[in-house]
Symmetry: C2
Subunit: 202 residues, 2 copies
DNA sequence: CATCTAAACGGACCATGGTCCGGTTTCATT
DNA sequence: AATGAAACCGGACCATGGTCCGTTTAGATG
Protein backbone atom coordinates (compact mmCIF):
# COMPACT_ATOMS: atom_id res chain seq x y z
CA UNK A 1 0.00 0.00 0.00
CA UNK A 2 2.00 2.92 -1.26
CA UNK A 3 1.11 6.14 0.45
CA UNK A 4 1.67 8.39 -2.49
CA UNK A 5 -1.28 10.69 -3.02
CA UNK A 6 -3.88 9.10 -5.19
CA UNK A 7 -4.21 12.04 -7.46
CA UNK A 8 -1.37 12.84 -9.79
CA UNK A 9 0.41 15.84 -8.38
CA UNK A 10 1.92 18.00 -11.01
CA UNK A 11 5.59 17.57 -11.70
CA UNK A 12 8.14 16.66 -9.02
CA UNK A 13 8.23 13.09 -7.68
CA UNK A 14 11.58 12.05 -9.21
CA UNK A 15 12.24 9.31 -6.66
CA UNK A 16 13.08 9.33 -3.03
CA UNK A 17 16.44 8.36 -1.64
CA UNK A 18 16.38 5.08 0.25
CA UNK A 19 17.22 6.62 3.61
CA UNK A 20 14.54 9.20 3.10
CA UNK A 21 11.96 6.54 2.32
CA UNK A 22 12.99 4.52 5.35
CA UNK A 23 12.69 7.52 7.59
CA UNK A 24 9.34 8.51 6.22
CA UNK A 25 7.96 5.09 6.94
CA UNK A 26 9.43 5.09 10.43
CA UNK A 27 7.96 8.51 11.09
CA UNK A 28 4.49 7.59 9.92
CA UNK A 29 4.50 4.44 12.00
CA UNK A 30 5.78 6.25 15.05
CA UNK A 31 3.23 9.01 14.60
CA UNK A 32 0.40 6.53 14.20
CA UNK A 33 1.50 4.71 17.31
CA UNK A 34 1.61 7.90 19.29
CA UNK A 35 -1.76 9.03 18.02
CA UNK A 36 -3.37 5.72 18.93
CA UNK A 37 -1.74 5.79 22.30
CA UNK A 38 -2.00 9.38 23.47
CA UNK A 39 -4.57 11.01 21.22
CA UNK A 40 -3.92 13.42 18.41
CA UNK A 41 -3.62 16.64 20.38
CA UNK A 42 -0.94 15.45 22.75
CA UNK A 43 1.38 14.27 20.01
CA UNK A 44 4.26 16.69 19.62
CA UNK A 45 6.70 16.79 16.78
CA UNK A 46 9.63 16.22 19.13
CA UNK A 47 7.95 13.13 20.45
CA UNK A 48 7.39 11.77 16.96
CA UNK A 49 10.99 12.45 16.04
CA UNK A 50 12.29 10.70 19.09
CA UNK A 51 9.93 7.76 18.76
CA UNK A 52 11.11 7.29 15.20
CA UNK A 53 14.73 7.60 16.26
CA UNK A 54 15.28 10.54 14.00
CA UNK A 55 16.19 14.20 14.32
CA UNK A 56 13.54 16.83 14.57
CA UNK A 57 14.65 18.53 11.40
CA UNK A 58 13.92 15.34 9.50
CA UNK A 59 10.29 15.32 10.54
CA UNK A 60 9.82 18.82 9.22
CA UNK A 61 11.76 18.06 6.08
CA UNK A 62 9.43 15.17 5.30
CA UNK A 63 6.11 16.67 6.24
CA UNK A 64 6.77 20.35 6.24
CA UNK A 65 4.46 21.17 9.17
CA UNK A 66 2.62 19.41 11.90
CA UNK A 67 -0.60 19.59 9.97
CA UNK A 68 1.26 18.11 7.02
CA UNK A 69 2.14 15.09 9.11
CA UNK A 70 -1.42 14.79 10.31
CA UNK A 71 -2.65 15.04 6.75
CA UNK A 72 -0.42 12.12 5.85
CA UNK A 73 -1.98 10.08 8.63
CA UNK A 74 -5.38 11.18 7.47
CA UNK A 75 -4.64 9.91 3.98
CA UNK A 76 -4.02 6.47 5.41
CA UNK A 77 -7.12 6.68 7.50
CA UNK A 78 -9.24 7.56 4.49
CA UNK A 79 -7.87 4.83 2.27
CA UNK A 80 -10.30 2.18 3.49
CA UNK A 81 -13.29 4.41 3.10
CA UNK A 82 -12.28 5.41 -0.39
CA UNK A 83 -11.84 1.78 -1.29
CA UNK A 84 -15.32 0.94 -0.11
CA UNK A 85 -16.77 3.75 -2.17
CA UNK A 86 -14.94 2.62 -5.26
CA UNK A 87 -15.34 -1.10 -4.93
CA UNK A 88 -17.23 -1.98 -1.77
CA UNK A 89 -20.70 -3.45 -1.46
CA UNK A 90 -23.75 -1.39 -2.41
CA UNK A 91 -25.38 0.91 -1.67
CA UNK A 92 -22.19 2.81 -0.88
CA UNK A 93 -20.21 0.99 -3.52
CA UNK A 94 -21.20 0.54 -7.15
CA UNK A 95 -24.26 -1.48 -8.05
CA UNK A 96 -27.04 0.43 -6.36
CA UNK A 97 -29.07 3.08 -8.17
CA UNK A 98 -27.56 6.57 -7.94
CA UNK A 99 -30.13 7.91 -5.55
CA UNK A 100 -29.47 5.14 -3.04
CA UNK A 101 -25.75 5.59 -3.50
CA UNK A 102 -26.11 9.27 -2.82
CA UNK A 103 -28.00 8.76 0.40
CA UNK A 104 -25.53 6.10 1.52
CA UNK A 105 -22.71 8.45 0.66
CA UNK A 106 -24.03 11.16 2.94
CA UNK A 107 -24.51 8.97 5.96
CA UNK A 108 -21.22 7.24 5.48
CA UNK A 109 -19.30 10.45 4.96
CA UNK A 110 -20.93 11.93 8.02
CA UNK A 111 -19.81 9.04 10.17
CA UNK A 112 -16.38 8.96 8.62
CA UNK A 113 -15.86 12.65 9.32
CA UNK A 114 -16.89 12.18 12.92
CA UNK A 115 -14.56 9.22 13.36
CA UNK A 116 -11.63 11.14 11.98
CA UNK A 117 -12.60 14.44 13.56
CA UNK A 118 -9.50 14.90 15.68
CA UNK A 119 -7.19 14.05 12.81
CA UNK A 120 -9.08 16.23 10.39
CA UNK A 121 -8.92 19.19 12.71
CA UNK A 122 -5.22 18.69 13.30
CA UNK A 123 -4.60 18.39 9.58
CA UNK A 124 -6.67 21.33 8.53
CA UNK A 125 -4.72 24.28 9.89
CA UNK A 126 -2.95 25.90 6.97
CA UNK A 127 -1.58 23.71 4.18
CA UNK A 128 -4.72 24.02 2.06
CA UNK A 129 -3.38 21.97 -0.81
CA UNK A 130 -2.57 18.88 1.17
CA UNK A 131 -5.84 17.89 2.71
CA UNK A 132 -7.49 19.00 -0.45
CA UNK A 133 -6.65 15.57 -1.81
CA UNK A 134 -8.85 13.79 0.67
CA UNK A 135 -11.64 16.29 0.17
CA UNK A 136 -11.26 16.06 -3.53
CA UNK A 137 -12.03 12.38 -3.76
CA UNK A 138 -15.34 12.74 -2.01
CA UNK A 139 -16.23 15.83 -3.98
CA UNK A 140 -15.46 14.18 -7.27
CA UNK A 141 -17.52 11.15 -6.43
CA UNK A 142 -20.39 13.32 -5.36
CA UNK A 143 -20.31 15.27 -8.60
CA UNK A 144 -20.37 12.00 -10.45
CA UNK A 145 -23.48 10.89 -8.61
CA UNK A 146 -25.26 14.18 -9.16
CA UNK A 147 -24.44 13.95 -12.82
CA UNK A 148 -25.80 10.41 -13.00
CA UNK A 149 -29.00 11.68 -11.47
CA UNK A 150 -29.37 14.31 -14.19
CA UNK A 151 -29.45 17.04 -11.61
CA UNK A 152 -29.96 20.44 -13.18
CA UNK A 153 -27.79 23.39 -12.31
CA UNK A 154 -24.18 24.05 -11.35
CA UNK A 155 -23.16 20.60 -10.23
CA UNK A 156 -19.82 21.63 -8.77
CA UNK A 157 -21.58 24.11 -6.53
CA UNK A 158 -24.41 21.81 -5.59
CA UNK A 159 -21.85 19.21 -4.67
CA UNK A 160 -20.17 21.71 -2.38
CA UNK A 161 -23.53 22.53 -0.89
CA UNK A 162 -23.93 18.89 0.02
CA UNK A 163 -20.40 18.48 1.36
CA UNK A 164 -20.25 21.64 3.43
CA UNK A 165 -22.79 20.65 6.09
CA UNK A 166 -20.74 17.49 6.66
CA UNK A 167 -17.58 19.38 7.58
CA UNK A 168 -16.28 18.61 11.03
CA UNK A 169 -16.56 22.22 12.20
CA UNK A 170 -20.23 22.28 11.34
CA UNK A 171 -21.00 18.85 12.75
CA UNK A 172 -19.31 19.55 16.04
CA UNK A 173 -21.16 22.79 16.40
CA UNK A 174 -24.46 21.08 15.86
CA UNK A 175 -23.68 18.19 18.15
CA UNK A 176 -21.79 19.85 20.96
CA UNK A 177 -23.36 23.29 21.07
CA UNK A 178 -26.83 22.87 19.70
CA UNK A 179 -27.17 19.38 21.13
CA UNK A 180 -28.44 17.65 18.03
CA UNK A 181 -27.93 13.94 17.66
CA UNK A 182 -26.33 12.24 14.71
CA UNK A 183 -29.50 10.59 13.52
CA UNK A 184 -31.26 13.90 13.18
CA UNK A 185 -28.36 15.37 11.24
CA UNK A 186 -28.24 12.40 8.92
CA UNK A 187 -31.97 12.59 8.29
CA UNK A 188 -31.66 16.30 7.65
CA UNK A 189 -28.92 15.69 5.13
CA UNK A 190 -31.07 13.23 3.25
CA UNK A 191 -33.85 15.77 3.11
CA UNK A 192 -31.42 18.33 1.79
CA UNK A 193 -30.23 15.90 -0.84
CA UNK A 194 -33.78 15.21 -1.94
CA UNK A 195 -34.47 18.89 -2.38
CA UNK A 196 -31.32 19.36 -4.37
CA UNK A 197 -31.83 16.44 -6.71
CA UNK A 198 -35.47 17.29 -7.21
CA UNK A 199 -34.62 19.56 -10.13
CA UNK A 200 -33.45 17.55 -13.09
CA UNK A 201 -32.29 18.34 -16.55
CA UNK A 202 -35.25 18.07 -18.87
CA UNK B 1 -21.15 39.80 52.97
CA UNK B 2 -22.12 41.77 49.93
CA UNK B 3 -24.73 40.44 47.57
CA UNK B 4 -24.00 41.01 43.92
CA UNK B 5 -27.30 41.48 42.12
CA UNK B 6 -28.21 38.14 40.65
CA UNK B 7 -28.28 38.84 36.98
CA UNK B 8 -29.40 36.25 34.48
CA UNK B 9 -26.82 33.47 34.71
CA UNK B 10 -26.04 33.53 31.02
CA UNK B 11 -24.55 37.00 31.17
CA UNK B 12 -22.45 36.26 34.25
CA UNK B 13 -19.62 38.56 35.27
CA UNK B 14 -21.74 41.34 36.64
CA UNK B 15 -19.29 44.17 36.66
CA UNK B 16 -15.76 44.78 35.58
CA UNK B 17 -13.28 46.61 37.72
CA UNK B 18 -12.48 50.03 36.32
CA UNK B 19 -8.83 49.30 35.64
CA UNK B 20 -9.80 46.10 33.93
CA UNK B 21 -12.27 47.92 31.72
CA UNK B 22 -9.72 50.54 30.83
CA UNK B 23 -7.17 47.92 29.92
CA UNK B 24 -9.62 45.96 27.83
CA UNK B 25 -10.45 49.03 25.83
CA UNK B 26 -6.78 49.90 25.39
CA UNK B 27 -6.05 46.35 24.26
CA UNK B 28 -8.85 46.25 21.74
CA UNK B 29 -7.80 49.57 20.28
CA UNK B 30 -4.16 48.57 20.12
CA UNK B 31 -5.04 45.25 18.53
CA UNK B 32 -7.27 46.90 15.96
CA UNK B 33 -4.53 49.36 15.11
CA UNK B 34 -2.01 46.58 14.68
CA UNK B 35 -4.37 44.52 12.57
CA UNK B 36 -5.11 47.44 10.29
CA UNK B 37 -1.46 48.22 10.02
CA UNK B 38 0.29 44.86 9.72
CA UNK B 39 -2.43 42.38 8.87
CA UNK B 40 -3.98 39.81 11.15
CA UNK B 41 -1.39 37.07 10.89
CA UNK B 42 1.57 39.17 11.86
CA UNK B 43 0.02 40.48 15.03
CA UNK B 44 1.54 38.79 18.04
CA UNK B 45 0.25 38.87 21.55
CA UNK B 46 3.45 40.46 22.82
CA UNK B 47 3.09 43.22 20.29
CA UNK B 48 -0.48 43.88 21.33
CA UNK B 49 0.53 43.97 24.98
CA UNK B 50 3.31 46.40 24.34
CA UNK B 51 1.25 48.61 22.06
CA UNK B 52 -1.38 48.84 24.75
CA UNK B 53 1.24 49.58 27.39
CA UNK B 54 0.25 46.55 29.40
CA UNK B 55 1.80 43.30 30.56
CA UNK B 56 1.44 40.17 28.49
CA UNK B 57 -0.39 38.36 31.23
CA UNK B 58 -3.09 40.98 31.11
CA UNK B 59 -3.85 40.28 27.49
CA UNK B 60 -4.37 36.63 28.21
CA UNK B 61 -6.36 37.36 31.31
CA UNK B 62 -8.79 39.49 29.31
CA UNK B 63 -9.13 37.39 26.19
CA UNK B 64 -7.96 34.00 27.29
CA UNK B 65 -6.27 33.08 23.98
CA UNK B 66 -5.15 34.71 20.81
CA UNK B 67 -8.25 33.52 19.03
CA UNK B 68 -10.28 34.96 21.87
CA UNK B 69 -8.82 38.37 21.17
CA UNK B 70 -9.48 37.99 17.47
CA UNK B 71 -13.03 36.96 18.22
CA UNK B 72 -13.48 40.16 20.17
CA UNK B 73 -12.28 42.16 17.18
CA UNK B 74 -14.57 40.14 14.99
CA UNK B 75 -17.51 41.03 17.18
CA UNK B 76 -16.83 44.70 16.55
CA UNK B 77 -16.39 44.06 12.87
CA UNK B 78 -19.73 42.31 12.67
CA UNK B 79 -21.66 44.92 14.56
CA UNK B 80 -22.34 47.09 11.51
CA UNK B 81 -23.52 44.18 9.44
CA UNK B 82 -25.82 42.97 12.16
CA UNK B 83 -27.26 46.45 12.48
CA UNK B 84 -28.02 46.61 8.79
CA UNK B 85 -29.78 43.27 8.97
CA UNK B 86 -31.88 44.35 11.90
CA UNK B 87 -32.64 47.89 10.88
CA UNK B 88 -30.98 48.72 7.59
CA UNK B 89 -32.66 49.37 4.26
CA UNK B 90 -34.39 46.53 2.40
CA UNK B 91 -33.96 44.04 0.95
CA UNK B 92 -31.36 43.07 3.57
CA UNK B 93 -33.15 44.92 6.31
CA UNK B 94 -36.83 44.64 7.21
CA UNK B 95 -39.49 45.74 4.75
CA UNK B 96 -38.85 43.46 1.78
CA UNK B 97 -40.72 40.18 1.32
CA UNK B 98 -38.98 37.24 3.00
CA UNK B 99 -37.79 35.67 -0.22
CA UNK B 100 -35.97 38.83 -1.27
CA UNK B 101 -34.58 39.22 2.20
CA UNK B 102 -33.30 35.68 2.05
CA UNK B 103 -31.51 36.18 -1.23
CA UNK B 104 -30.04 39.47 -0.04
CA UNK B 105 -28.94 37.76 3.13
CA UNK B 106 -26.96 35.16 1.23
CA UNK B 107 -25.09 37.56 -0.96
CA UNK B 108 -24.41 39.94 1.85
CA UNK B 109 -23.24 37.23 4.19
CA UNK B 110 -20.99 35.85 1.49
CA UNK B 111 -19.31 39.18 0.99
CA UNK B 112 -19.10 39.84 4.68
CA UNK B 113 -17.40 36.51 5.29
CA UNK B 114 -14.88 37.22 2.58
CA UNK B 115 -14.16 40.67 3.94
CA UNK B 116 -13.55 39.31 7.40
CA UNK B 117 -11.85 36.14 6.25
CA UNK B 118 -8.50 36.71 7.92
CA UNK B 119 -10.12 37.69 11.20
CA UNK B 120 -12.54 34.80 11.07
CA UNK B 121 -9.79 32.32 10.47
CA UNK B 122 -7.71 33.77 13.29
CA UNK B 123 -10.70 33.67 15.62
CA UNK B 124 -11.84 30.18 14.77
CA UNK B 125 -9.10 28.00 16.19
CA UNK B 126 -10.40 26.45 19.35
CA UNK B 127 -12.70 28.45 21.64
CA UNK B 128 -15.88 27.16 20.02
CA UNK B 129 -18.20 29.10 22.29
CA UNK B 130 -16.83 32.52 21.55
CA UNK B 131 -17.25 32.92 17.84
CA UNK B 132 -20.47 31.04 18.20
CA UNK B 133 -22.03 34.35 19.09
CA UNK B 134 -21.35 35.88 15.72
CA UNK B 135 -22.46 32.72 13.95
CA UNK B 136 -25.52 32.54 16.09
CA UNK B 137 -26.93 35.86 15.03
CA UNK B 138 -26.86 34.99 11.36
CA UNK B 139 -28.22 31.52 12.01
CA UNK B 140 -31.08 32.85 14.07
CA UNK B 141 -32.02 35.39 11.47
CA UNK B 142 -31.90 32.76 8.78
CA UNK B 143 -34.18 30.47 10.74
CA UNK B 144 -36.57 33.34 11.15
CA UNK B 145 -36.68 33.94 7.42
CA UNK B 146 -37.18 30.28 6.63
CA UNK B 147 -39.99 30.19 9.11
CA UNK B 148 -41.62 33.24 7.55
CA UNK B 149 -41.46 31.49 4.22
CA UNK B 150 -43.36 28.51 5.59
CA UNK B 151 -40.52 26.22 4.64
CA UNK B 152 -41.29 22.60 5.44
CA UNK B 153 -38.85 20.39 7.29
CA UNK B 154 -36.22 20.74 10.00
CA UNK B 155 -35.61 24.45 9.84
CA UNK B 156 -32.58 24.46 12.12
CA UNK B 157 -30.87 21.95 9.84
CA UNK B 158 -31.89 23.64 6.64
CA UNK B 159 -30.56 26.87 8.00
CA UNK B 160 -27.24 25.17 8.66
CA UNK B 161 -27.30 23.80 5.16
CA UNK B 162 -27.55 27.33 3.86
CA UNK B 163 -24.91 28.73 6.16
CA UNK B 164 -22.31 26.02 5.71
CA UNK B 165 -21.43 26.75 2.08
CA UNK B 166 -20.75 30.33 3.11
CA UNK B 167 -18.07 29.39 5.64
CA UNK B 168 -14.71 30.91 4.94
CA UNK B 169 -12.98 27.55 4.62
CA UNK B 170 -15.37 26.50 1.89
CA UNK B 171 -15.32 29.81 0.07
CA UNK B 172 -11.56 29.99 -0.03
CA UNK B 173 -11.33 26.49 -1.33
CA UNK B 174 -13.70 27.29 -4.14
CA UNK B 175 -12.06 30.57 -5.01
CA UNK B 176 -8.39 29.79 -4.55
CA UNK B 177 -8.21 26.15 -5.47
CA UNK B 178 -11.08 25.55 -7.83
CA UNK B 179 -10.81 29.01 -9.29
CA UNK B 180 -14.47 29.96 -9.11
CA UNK B 181 -15.43 33.60 -9.00
CA UNK B 182 -17.62 35.20 -6.40
CA UNK B 183 -20.48 35.88 -8.76
CA UNK B 184 -20.81 32.23 -9.63
CA UNK B 185 -20.80 31.23 -5.99
CA UNK B 186 -23.44 33.80 -5.16
CA UNK B 187 -25.64 32.64 -8.00
CA UNK B 188 -25.17 29.05 -6.89
CA UNK B 189 -26.22 29.94 -3.40
CA UNK B 190 -29.41 31.53 -4.65
CA UNK B 191 -30.19 28.41 -6.62
CA UNK B 192 -29.60 26.34 -3.50
CA UNK B 193 -31.88 28.60 -1.52
CA UNK B 194 -34.63 28.26 -4.12
CA UNK B 195 -34.44 24.50 -3.97
CA UNK B 196 -34.59 24.54 -0.21
CA UNK B 197 -37.53 26.89 0.10
CA UNK B 198 -39.41 25.14 -2.66
CA UNK B 199 -40.99 22.76 -0.17
CA UNK B 200 -43.49 24.57 2.02
CA UNK B 201 -45.75 23.60 4.82
CA UNK B 202 -49.16 22.87 3.37
C1' DC C 1 37.30 2.03 -6.15
C1' DA C 2 37.75 7.14 -5.99
C1' DT C 3 35.29 10.98 -6.50
C1' DC C 4 31.70 14.12 -6.67
C1' DT C 5 27.08 16.31 -5.93
C1' DA C 6 22.68 16.77 -4.54
C1' DA C 7 19.93 15.32 -1.08
C1' DA C 8 19.17 14.16 3.64
C1' DC C 9 20.35 14.56 8.48
C1' DG C 10 20.38 16.37 13.23
C1' DG C 11 20.09 19.27 16.85
C1' DA C 12 21.04 23.94 18.38
C1' DC C 13 18.35 27.98 17.94
C1' DC C 14 14.40 31.21 17.47
C1' DA C 15 9.55 32.98 17.87
C1' DT C 16 5.38 32.89 19.93
C1' DG C 17 1.34 31.21 22.43
C1' DG C 18 0.17 30.28 27.04
C1' DT C 19 0.98 29.69 32.37
C1' DC C 20 2.21 31.14 37.09
C1' DC C 21 2.62 33.61 41.14
C1' DG C 22 4.16 37.45 44.15
C1' DG C 23 2.94 42.10 44.42
C1' DT C 24 -0.57 45.84 43.59
C1' DT C 25 -5.13 48.05 43.01
C1' DT C 26 -9.95 48.64 43.33
C1' DC C 27 -13.88 49.07 45.99
C1' DA C 28 -17.54 47.65 49.34
C1' DT C 29 -18.03 47.81 54.09
C1' DT C 30 -17.37 49.75 58.50
C1' DA D 1 -10.39 57.07 56.55
C1' DA D 2 -9.19 52.55 57.52
C1' DT D 3 -9.55 47.78 56.33
C1' DG D 4 -9.78 43.43 54.00
C1' DA D 5 -10.38 40.53 50.25
C1' DA D 6 -11.18 39.62 45.67
C1' DA D 7 -9.70 40.90 41.35
C1' DC D 8 -6.11 42.43 38.61
C1' DC D 9 -1.33 43.23 36.96
C1' DG D 10 3.22 42.17 35.08
C1' DG D 11 6.89 39.84 33.34
C1' DA D 12 9.73 35.75 34.11
C1' DC D 13 9.13 31.17 32.61
C1' DC D 14 7.75 27.00 29.91
C1' DA D 15 6.35 24.19 25.77
C1' DT D 16 6.18 23.56 21.16
C1' DG D 17 6.13 24.56 16.23
C1' DG D 18 9.34 25.83 12.84
C1' DT D 19 14.14 27.40 10.83
C1' DC D 20 19.13 27.10 9.85
C1' DC D 21 23.33 25.40 8.59
C1' DG D 22 27.43 22.59 9.09
C1' DT D 23 27.99 17.60 8.48
C1' DT D 24 26.97 13.05 6.58
C1' DT D 25 25.46 9.85 3.09
C1' DA D 26 23.29 7.74 -1.03
C1' DG D 27 24.26 6.56 -5.34
C1' DA D 28 25.68 8.03 -10.10
C1' DT D 29 29.79 8.48 -12.96
C1' DG D 30 34.46 7.42 -14.82
Amino acid sequence: MSERPLLPILGQDVRERSDAARNRKALLEAAQRLVDHCGVESVTMDAVAEAAGVGKGTVFRRFRTRSGLMAALLDQFEADWQASVIGGPPPLGPGAPPRERLLAFGRSRLEQNLRGAALIRAASTAAPARNYAVYSFAATHLRYLLDQLDVAGDIALLSTALMAPLEVVILEQQIEIEGMDVERIAAGWEDLAERIIARRRS
